[in-house]
């Protein structure tokens, strides 16, 4: 468990380092540009907010698959990428291309309804696209249920396809090559074996581990591949999205509790067993059982928050460091932040693997609790 905490601490440290660097950058830029005229300082501030907004935008899911954007000579912002289908449920299914939004610049009119893309979310508006706000500057417009094929969905699909063909190929290569994998399977087979021998077997036990293997293998490679995809220039932050980690943790939760043995449930509803007389239980159990029940939910919740926060933090740190290069614009600062960004990238590649490992490991641990079968008297 310490190892997992360490990575969390590492990520936190990264955030602190970034905060420090950002503060340093602000001080430096403040000093450096104090001598210059006001307009330059303003443009600097604009750049800062632009970077901040860009990072915030990047962390969110997007309705079109943009590869990069640039500003041309006529000061027009050009996006390079392709639109994705938008699917809305708003008193009936509405489908249209995300190109209708023009990256949030225009309203999409579908069947007499107007929709506006605002901070990566789709709101229903009037014909001129008014967004109403409450006191805390949250949009109060109606939000149709959004089933769009977003950038994350595309990446999930691509990862799924990749995994399917990769491991189908590995499975087929056994028959072809007399039980020995060929090609890229040679790299992945040891990882499959590692998950079986060092994650599933010791945590779940020899008798029942086979039942959970497909799930463990699937989540491990799914999370790992998506984490790695997040580090590519495509920059899709899929595993840093709370909906994704929630869905994954929910599956772990369901698998744990649907396969729970009698001993597992006894453990929750009668945690002390025969070690305590019934009148003692009468006093303790009103406290203990709610705690145990809460534990059921806290375990997968910690899974979803850990993965989300680690990936989110990694992306924030990396993009902040890259953003610093544009803020410094100096011979000293920019190479420094480039070097840091490079170092953090390397750490992030490790974190990508580590987080996949931790998620799988802890899932296996929870499955191990659920699959437990022992003589209750001699345990604990």
């Amino acid at each position: 468990m310490h190892r997992f905490l360490e990575t969390d601490i590492l990520s936190n440290m990264c955030i602190h380092v970034t905060k420090f660097l950002l503060a340093a950058a602000l001080l430096l830029s403040g000093n450096a540009f104090a001598k210059e005229n006001e307009s330059s300082d303003d443009s600097k501030k604009d750049l800062k907010t632009e970077i901040k907004e860009y990072i915030a935008h990047h962390l969110k899911d997007s309705h079109d698959f943009s590869l990069f954007s640039y500003t041309n000579e006529a000061h027009e912002h050009k996006y390079v990428g392709f639109p994705l289908p938008v699917i809305l449920w708003d008193n009936g299914l509405k489908m249209f291309s995300s190109s209708k939004f023009h990256h949030g610049k225009t309203l999409a009119e579908v069947d007499g309804n107007y929709y506006k893309l605002y901070h990566s979310k789709i709101y229903k508006t009037d014909a001129v696209g008014t967004i109403n706000y409450d006191e805390e500057h949250h949009a109060t417009n109606a939000k149709p249920i959004d089933f769009s094929i977003t950038k994350s969905v595309v990446m999930i699909f691509i990862t799924g396809l990749l995994m399917f063909f990769l491991f189908r190929g590995l499975a087929k290569s056994y028959a072809k090559n007399n039980g020995i994998p060929t090609g890229v399977g040679r790299f992945f087979e040891p990882i499959v074996l590692y998950i079986r021998d060092d994650i599933a077997r010791p945590n779940i036990g020899e008798k029942k581990y086979k039942r959970y293997m497909p799930f463990l293998l699937s989540i491990f490679f799914f999370i790992w591949f998506l984490n790695i995809f997040g580090l590519t220039p495509l920059g899709v932050n899929v595993t840093g999205n709370i909906a994704i980690t929630f869905a994954l943790a929910l599956l772990t939760f369901l698998f744990t509790n649907l396969t729970g043995t009698k001993d597992y449930w006894m453990h929750i509803f009668d945690p002390l067993g025969d070690t305590l007389p019934w009148y003692g239980k009468l006093i303790l159990y009103p406290i203990l059982i709610p705690i145990e029940l809460l534990g059921l939910f806290i375990k997968p919740f910690s899974l979803l928050i850990r993965l989300y926060a680690n990936m989110q933090a990694g992306h924030i740190v990396l993009m902040s460091l890259i953003g610093l290069m544009f803020l410094f614009k100096s011979w000293l600062g920019s190479p420094l932040s480039f070097g840091l960004a490079f170092a953090i990238s390397l750490i992030e590649i490790l974190v990508a693997l580590l987080q996949a490992y931790i998620f799988t490991m802890l899932s296996a641990l929870y499955f191990g609790f659920a699959a437990v079968e022992h003589d209750h008297a001699d345990a604990h």
Partner: protein, 166 residues
């Protein structure tokens, strides 16, 4: 927490669950099951092969032990046979020596007996010849001596004297 809830997208959750569920099912059926069973088969195969090799090794050791035992037995037998042969030889030699001695002794005895009898015969012969010679000589001497009266008397005296001495 509020930020998390705000960020939560039901659509993405839906697609993730659907696609991941589908992926899980497909991989379960078409990838993980064959991979794990193939790996398992391979491991079983390796285990069996190792066990077979171990058995073969043991058998080999048994065979070697057996052959060594056989060799030892053969060596012992040869040793015993050689010993027996030596004993027989010694006995034979000893026997023949004894026999030869007995035979020799017998022959020597026979020879001695023959010599004895020859000697006796020769002695008897010599005796008779000596007696004859003596008689002849005595005859001649007496004939010569008895030619004279005195000499005859003397002889009688001598003979008488000899008788007395006897």
């Amino acid at each position: 927490m509020e930020k998390l809830l705000e960020e939560f997208s039901l659509g993405l959750f839906f697609w993730q669950t659907l696609l991941f569920g589908l992926l899980l099912f497909l991989l379960w059926k078409f990838a993980w099951k064959p991979i794990l069973s193939a790996v398992n088969d391979r491991e079983e195969g390796i285990k069996d092969a190792l066990a077979a090799a171990e058995d073969a090794k043991k058998e080999m050791q048994n065979v070697t032990a057996d052959s060594e035992k056989l060799l030892k037995e053969a060596r012992a037998e040869r040793e015993a046979m050689l010993k027996e042969a030596r004993e027989i030889k010694d006995k034979l030699i000893a026997d023949s020596k004894d026999q030869a001695k007995v035979e020799g002794d017998k022959m020597i005895k026979q020879a001695q007996a023959a010599i004895e009898s020859e000697k006796k015969a020769a002695v008897a012969d010599i005796k008779s010849q000596v007696a004859n010679l003596s008689v002849d000589i005595a005859e001649k001497v007496i004939k010569e001596q008895l030619s004279d009266k005195n000499k005859q008397l003397k002889l009688v005296d001598d003979l008488l004297g000899d008788i007395k001495l006897n």
